[in-house]
């Protein structure tokens, strides 16, 4: 299972090591993709958002089995790294787990899937729904007890994400909050760590990728996803675009893609990968 805590730590450690190596050696060897007329071959370096990395790695495996001479190398480091690496040519393709910003119009972006960020509570928490204003008040420390929003008399544990994570950006952007205004009791890194924190604390509130939360919920993990803006948080509402805190997942290139990169992007946007996307708890784009 990709989304296990163990893998998460492994990833962190791996990215620190990779990062140190990169710092020491300069750029990762981004071998130029060779374009052969009949058979594609070469190495494709893809870096960026950790949300997208497992999905792109799986798509990469499918792509490698189609073109046996191709190697796809996926590295994580956040959407900002995906943008930076694609711009500087350190990577052939960047992964960005949010909508493209205005100053990023120089890049060519291709949506591959959608992801939603859902508010989660412990299953035993009697609170069934929270308005946007209540969530803002909880995250800015104006409401600190569940009884003020219809729950029992217990202090609220606010779970926030570490600086730089795109889930944090999506969350702050939707609620129009600044991270300096957030009064959190716990700061976490990975989605799965967020789920574990809420499971371990009946009075916690957190936010994670809906794909992760929905999967964990179906596996009997005692959490529940709250509706936002009157819309149920589910992969279904993320797909049809009605769920408000959702985000597109992009892969980007600096120049219009040709050869190997183009073949990969076409493959990643094709129907052939829809099952892979669902297996990773993301939502394929509607045709």
């Amino acid at each position: 299972m990709y989304r296990s805590a163990e893998v998460f730590w492994h990833q962190i450690f791996g990215s620190i090591v990779a990062f140190l190596l990169v710092s020491f050696l300069g750029a990762p060897g981004s071998a130029k993709a060779q374009t052969a007329t009949d058979q594609l071959s070469g190495k494709l370096v893809i870096t960026g958002a950790s949300t997208l990395a497992p999905l792109i790695a799986e798509i990469g495996k499918g792509f490698e089995s189609l073109y046996t001479k191709v190697r796809v190398d996926v590295q994580t480091g956040g959407s900002s790294r995906g943008i930076a690496d694609a711009r500087q040519g350190l990577a052939d393709i960047g992964m960005v787990s949010r909508a493209m910003k205005d100053e990023e119009q120089d890049l060519h972006a291709f949506p591959v899937a959608r992801d939603g960020v859902g508010i989660i509570l412990h299953k035993d928490n009697p609170v069934q729904t929270l308005s946007d204003e209540q969530i803002i008040a909880i995250y800015t420390g104006k409401i600190t007890n569940w009884k003020d929003v219809g729950g029992k008399d217990a202090a609220i544990t606010v779970v926030n994400k570490a600086e730089g994570r795109s889930t944090l950006e999506v969350f702050l952007h939707y609620f129009k909050l600044k991270n300096t205004a957030v009064k959190a009791q716990v700061v976490i890194g990975d989605n799965e760590q967020g789920v574990k924190t809420v499971v371990g604390n009946r009075n916690a509130i957190g936010y994670v990728s809906i794909g992760t939360a929905e999967y964990d919920e179906s596996q009997g993990v005692p959490i529940k996803l709250l509706p936002t803006g009157g819309v149920n948080a589910s992969t279904e509402t993320v797909r049809n675009g009605t769920f408000p805190i959702s985000r597109p997942l992009h892969i980007v290139t600096r120049t219009p893609p040709v050869g190997l990169a183009k073949a990969f992007i076409d493959y990643a946007q094709s129907k052939a990968v829809h099952d892979t996307i669902k297996q990773q708890y993301f939502v394929p784009l509607a045709e």
Partner: protein
């Protein structure tokens, strides 16, 4: 150490070869430390160049994305977690070693020592995971939120306990048997002999153990990251969540760019300075005693 320059055996070619090999090995070991320090400074320079180092202590908070770089709460977090765990683990470790050496029957002492060695071998992620799913909810029942300085201190205590226990065990084993027999001959009861003779004789080994466990407590990352809550604040009680300098680097490095990234290397520099200060203090104290 004995001076070797006057040693005539270095005239043989094979010895000269050995000497060069030793020179090489020693300079590699030394160079690694220098290189790491140089690398840290080099990577931290971009931010130090246009931000005064003072701002790492005077800014209002740590929000690198918004240009605020205060490190002091994390420095306190590291120091408090370290101090708390060392204060608990040291007596625990020394007493367990004394028990193991002088009171426990042979049949118990042997498996007990193996158990402690096993404790030293468990990866820190395992401690962290246990802390996250068992310890943190438990503390949360007593005093919410749960992830806290206390959780960090307890996890660190368990992790550094084997270091001090094994060091104390080894240094007690080095105390000559005739010291204890002499004390017994003088009619001292066993407790008094241990207090008055054995512990002073083993002092320098115990002290080394304390230095080693302190180093491990400062450097620990994964377990701390999982149980401490990682909120950047100076704690006002042991139930408050904290973030340590090491956790800060591990938590944000994967997603940091530009000044944010360089600021994380400044965290690394501060950590390195702490370790250097610790080493100097240890040297100073042990020299003062002799």
């Amino acid at each position: 150490m004995t001076p070797s320059s006057s040693n005539t055996s270095f005239r043989w070619p094979s010895d000269r070869l050995l000497l060069w090999l030793l020179h090489g090995a020693a300079s590699i070991a030394g160079a690694i430390v220098i290189l790491i320090a140089a690398f840290l400074i080099l990577e931290a320079l971009p931010v130090l160049r246009h931000i005064s180092p003072l701002r790492f202590f005077t800014d209002s908070s740590w929000h690198p994305a918004e240009g605020l770089y205060k490190l002091t709460p994390m420095l306190w977090g590291t120091l408090l977690a370290m101090a708390g765990s060392v204060l608990i683990a040291t007596p625990l470790g020394i007493f367990s070693a004394v028990f193991c050496h002088y009171y426990a029957p042979q049949a118990l002492a042997r498996p007990y020592r193996r158990l402690i060695e096993l404790l030293a071998g468990i990866p820190s992620v395992v401690y962290g995971f246990w802390g996250l799913v068992v310890l943190v909810p438990l503390i949360g029942e007593i005093h919410p939120p749960g992830p806290s300085l206390l959780a960090g201190i307890l996890i660190l205590t368990i992790m550094i306990l084997p270091t001090i226990a094994l060091m104390a065990d080894a240094s007690l084993a080095n105390v000559p048997q005739h010291y204890l027999r002499g004390a017994a001959a003088l009619g001292l009861p066993r407790g008094a002999a241990i207090r008055g003779v054995v512990l002073p004789a083993a002092k320098s080994g115990l002290f080394t153990g304390v230095i080693l466990e302190t180093g491990r407590a400062i450097g620990e990352t994964m377990a701390i990251l999982m149980v401490c809550g990682n909120v950047v604040q100076t704690p006002s009680s042991i139930f408050d969540p904290i973030r340590t300098l090491t956790a800060n680097i591990a938590l944000e490095m994967a997603y940091a760019l530009g000044d944010h990234r360089a600021a994380l290397f400044v965290s690394g520099l501060v950590l390195m300075t702490m370790i250097i200060a610790l080493t100097i203090a240890a040297e100073w104290i042990s020299r003062g005693r002799r």
